[in-house]
Symmetry: C2
Subunit: 264 residues, 2 copies
DNA sequence: CCATTTAGTTCCAATATTTGAAACTAGAAT
DNA sequence: ATTCTAGTTTCAAATATTGGAACTAAATGG
């Protein structure tokens, strides 16, 4: 994938292991990796040794290690929009009573960063940290629509365009047209493009100076809601997204000033 | 810390950045790292490039990257006890009405893997992924008590023994005596050793063949409960821990058999 | 406004590490 | 008992990392 020397390769191995979504044996990994046996073997040893992978001696299988959870906790706290967005998600969830998602883009995929569930309490990592396709979800399209040109080209070339439902926009051409519409409206719909019976409205989170940071969405089942209903919520969703974007840009400036004060 | 070649060093840099618990600039990292300027610089570039770190161009600061969240999600699903323990935590939480923790050991520290909160829904990564000291928490001591000798020696040498409260066991000698008691009882108390006003009872999670996998605990404020009350719950906690341990060992065997069946 | 300091980035030859074919070992299947 | 398969180790050649030093950009201050 990406040739950042030894470290990049090690990251690729991490992804490889994580990608199986189950503990996996050496041989399987070898079949799916570009590395020679000895090389892959040493990477697995090193990563296991570091706690980035977990080796189960009973099963003789590798899985992502819990050291990653500690690091991810720091990432969630510091690099994600979750801390800033939290009160806004709470408010949307309370006011609208439907599922609320907060997502960011990671490797051209949608990464769900936080969630409020309509009737039941949040399920932990089973939601946060989960990934999904960008080209056929509300949050995904909302984010793509406001990506800078070069990044967009790359991202669009990396989508699978698998047709999950009859409504899926399953080509780059169709998707680009849709993104145009989304840009002009300022929000995106998911018209059962990923899962039948599930629709959503999503808005991008943009800083005042235009950097796209993520997206939020309101999701509901077609049994309970429809696109007309969702569209009525558009102003609310947009407003929440704008507030998050503004706060995100303002964030940390106090921090820097503090340092200045201390140094003076 | 640990010299696993280039990959090990890159992991150290990740820990270094995560350890600040806030976005941090190049210079600060340099002051706290053993690497020369150019070397650290290249590590940061590579890791940022890989999405393992996040570089904020406005602030010119580094933070753990959201790619870690995706990997951690896989770790939580596959390598942690959370999926197995979930129903047991739910039951304990429902029956006892107090806070329930599930923890595992990571780098001689307590890593909280899941949680049920008495009255309010779970807070996401703000709990899962969080780390704490092993020598002065219930889950920590319960796990240490059932660690194999060599691993225990290492772990005990890595504790800070900071005296958080008057009750903290702030030396290896005191702690070893306590671990002896815990081994004979099969459960551990936290007698306000980490936070004043907070007590807990914890039980190690052991496989039938004796491998220590983690621990669970029931925590309460001294205003509402006392050690006598907690001790009454010991059988319940132990039973839940045993069930988790048994299921964890049994886990995956079907998987292997499936493969055998397919191959035959 | 220019001089000076500080912070961050690039270069490149010396050096240490990674690489991977091949040999080896343990255990399962025949 | 023998053959296979899966996993582990070895070692010289190939390659990537290293880090001192030179460089640039941006902040500071005179």
């Amino acid at each position: 994938m990406s040739g950042d020397g030894t470290v990049g390769k090690a990251c690729d191995v991490l992804d490889l292991v994580a990608g199986f979504n189950r503990p996996v044996r050496f041989g399987e990994l070898l079949d799916h990796s570009p590395f020679p046996k000895a090389t892959l073997y040493r990477f697995l040893q090193t990563l296991t040794n570091q706690g980035m992978l977990n080796f189960d001696p009973d099963r003789q299988s590798y899985a992502p290690g819990i050291r990653l959870m500690r690091l991810a906790h720091a990432a969630w706290t510091q690099s994600s929009l979750a801390p800033i967005a939290r009160p806004h998600l709470d408010a949307l969830s309370r006011d609208l009573g439907e599922t609320v998602h907060l997502a960011q883009l990671d490797a051209s995929q949608v990464l769900y960063v936080d969630k409020r569930n309509a009737e039941q309490p949040v399920e932990m990592y089973s939601q946060a940290g989960k990934v999904g396709p960008a080209y056929c979800t509300g949050v995904g399209k909302a984010m793509l629509a406001f990506l800078p040109e070069k990044a967009l080209d790359l991202a669009l070339s990396q989508q699978s365009y698998f047709r999950f439902t009859p409504n899926t926009l399953a080509s780059e051409t169709e998707l680009r047209a849709e993104l145009e519409t989304i840009r002009s409206h300022g929000y995106a719909f998911d018209r059962e493009e990923h899962e039948p019976g599930i629709i959503c409205i999503a808005a991008p989170i943009l800083t005042p100076n235009g950097r796209m940071l993520g997206a939020i969405s309101i999701t509901g089942p077609t049994s309970r809601t429809d696109l007309t209903q969702l569209e009525k919520w558009a102003p609310l969703v947009r407003q929440a997204a704008d507030n998050i974007g503004r706060e995100a840009q303002a964030w940390r400036f106090p921090d820097i000033q503090q340092e200045k004060v201390i140094l003076t």
